[in-house]
Symmetry: C2
Subunit: 268 residues, 2 copies
């Protein structure tokens, strides 16, 4: 069951993994599962906040590339996974009241309301397959950890009541492979695309690379640079800053796995 | 003045061309002007329709890639051209009442309202520079015509009250250059990206390639295929289908020229 290293979850289909999750058999991060399929961040807001949030996403497409928007009250992401349910098919959620996280349940059925709109947002896990095919190491997969994520000092463009800093994910990359990592992730603009920063963490306001704000730290070896990609946890930083009366998100690293493939979001 | 072939408008800056337009000195299509800068389609809707339209755009990113969303009542596109004015800086507009075009003025100051939201949408004119640099002929520029545009039988994903067919632009491309044309425009996903169709116009519901629904016909020479790109006139087809009580758009081919460069919207 959850965490069993004998099982090759990379070869599972999205429907199989969503069922495992729905049945309570998987509550861990999803990086490396369902190779070749896109994964998505979740932000759920009341309809009253949905327009401001959507304009915020439009103004900040690097951290907030929208893959699907559900109809108010309907938990089905019809564009990217017909038949799926965003209230049950994610391993762990966060429930937010007035910008504070008040619960981290494994489903949010009891919190669902008729006025809630779900935004599915591209996730960099979607291009990790491309990195691996290019023989670029993905440290957090190799170490079976959640990806490290950091709140930066890069401010997003605000929209209405929604504002906040950009969150980034980090992967250590050998110096000689940084250009290839940039090129091959740059081909996936809808799942965060090319890195937003390479090298010195302090330059983007990260004080201690060993203490990520979300996820788990990974070692950076001699000859490697930390490489930072815009991250779909950015809406959670915006929820903390904008303090809507109610919101639901995924727990960082615990993603929705879509029926779309990574290639559906690549330019080639 | 307008149409003077002695003047090299390709070398003008966006601010210079916007001033020419604002001063009533240019009311023609903008293809080929301000080489290296991005151009944008315009759709203006009442705030009451803005959310549905924005979700429509999200669900149909090929024809409706959003570059900027203005604040209600504010005609300044702050993200892509600070200081510009979408009520005066476009050569020709269309004003729509209940889905019917009722006026085609050269400015819309008298129509502006406090509840109007402007959507600036990527335009394929933005990647024509890349085609020209790749030595791929752009027929409508060579012939100094507006690009031909067609309503297709490809239905967009609806969103709320907004629905309608995809509109495409067409450029005839020599068969041997079709792959390169696809590759080099595919690098610009925010300005429609790779073509949506190559060859037989009837396959996408176009009855007569010599009678475009918007713009002007261009000849297709021996050994060339018609190549079709998703087009930012799609919102005008949606306005005709959804019949909002009021809307403003640009006139097809008569674009807003942004301060952003084409490279700002390329993946490389």
């Amino acid at each position: 069951m959850a965490g069993d290293k004998m099982i090759d979850y990379a070869s599972y289909t999205p429907a199989e993994v969503r069922k495992l999750i729905r049945d309570g058999k998987w509550d861990r991060p999803t990086s490396g599962m369902c190779a070749g399929y896109a994964q998505a961040n979740l932000a759920v807001l009341p309809r009253d906040w949905a327009y401001d949030f959507l304009v915020f996403a439009q103004r900040n497409p690097k951290p907030c590339p929208i893959l699907d928007v559900t109809e108010p009250g309907d938990p089905e992401p019809r564009l990217i996974a017909p038949g799926a349910d965003i209230t049950t098919d994610i391993p762990r959620y966060r429930v937010w009241v007035d910008g504070k996280c008040v619960d981290e349940p494994t489903d949010v059925k009891k919190y669902w309301r008729d006025d809630l709109v779900g935004f599915l947002i591209g996730c960099s896990f979607s291009f990790e397959g491309a990195l691996i095919r290019a023989r670029i190491p993905v440290r957090h997969i190799d170490l079976d950890r959640n990806v490290p994520m950091y709140v930066t000092n890069i401010q997003c463009h605000p929209a209405g009541r929604v504002k906040g800093p950009m969150v980034v994910s980090m992967r250590p990359i050998p110096a000689s492979l940084v250009p290839k990592a940039a090129m091959c992730t740059g081909c996936y603009p809808s799942v965060h695309g090319a890195p937003v920063h390479v090298g010195d963490p302090a330059a983007i306001g990260i004080k201690d690379i060993d203490k990520p704000d979300f996820g788990e730290a990974v070692p950076i070896y001699e000859g490697e640079y930390p490489v930072f990609w815009a991250c779909g946890v950015t809406p959670q930083a915006a929820i903390m800053a904008a303090k809507p009366e109610f919101a639901i998100t995924h727990a960082p690293g615990h993603m929705f796995i879509a029926d779309k493939t990574d290639v559906d979001y690549s330019v080639f």
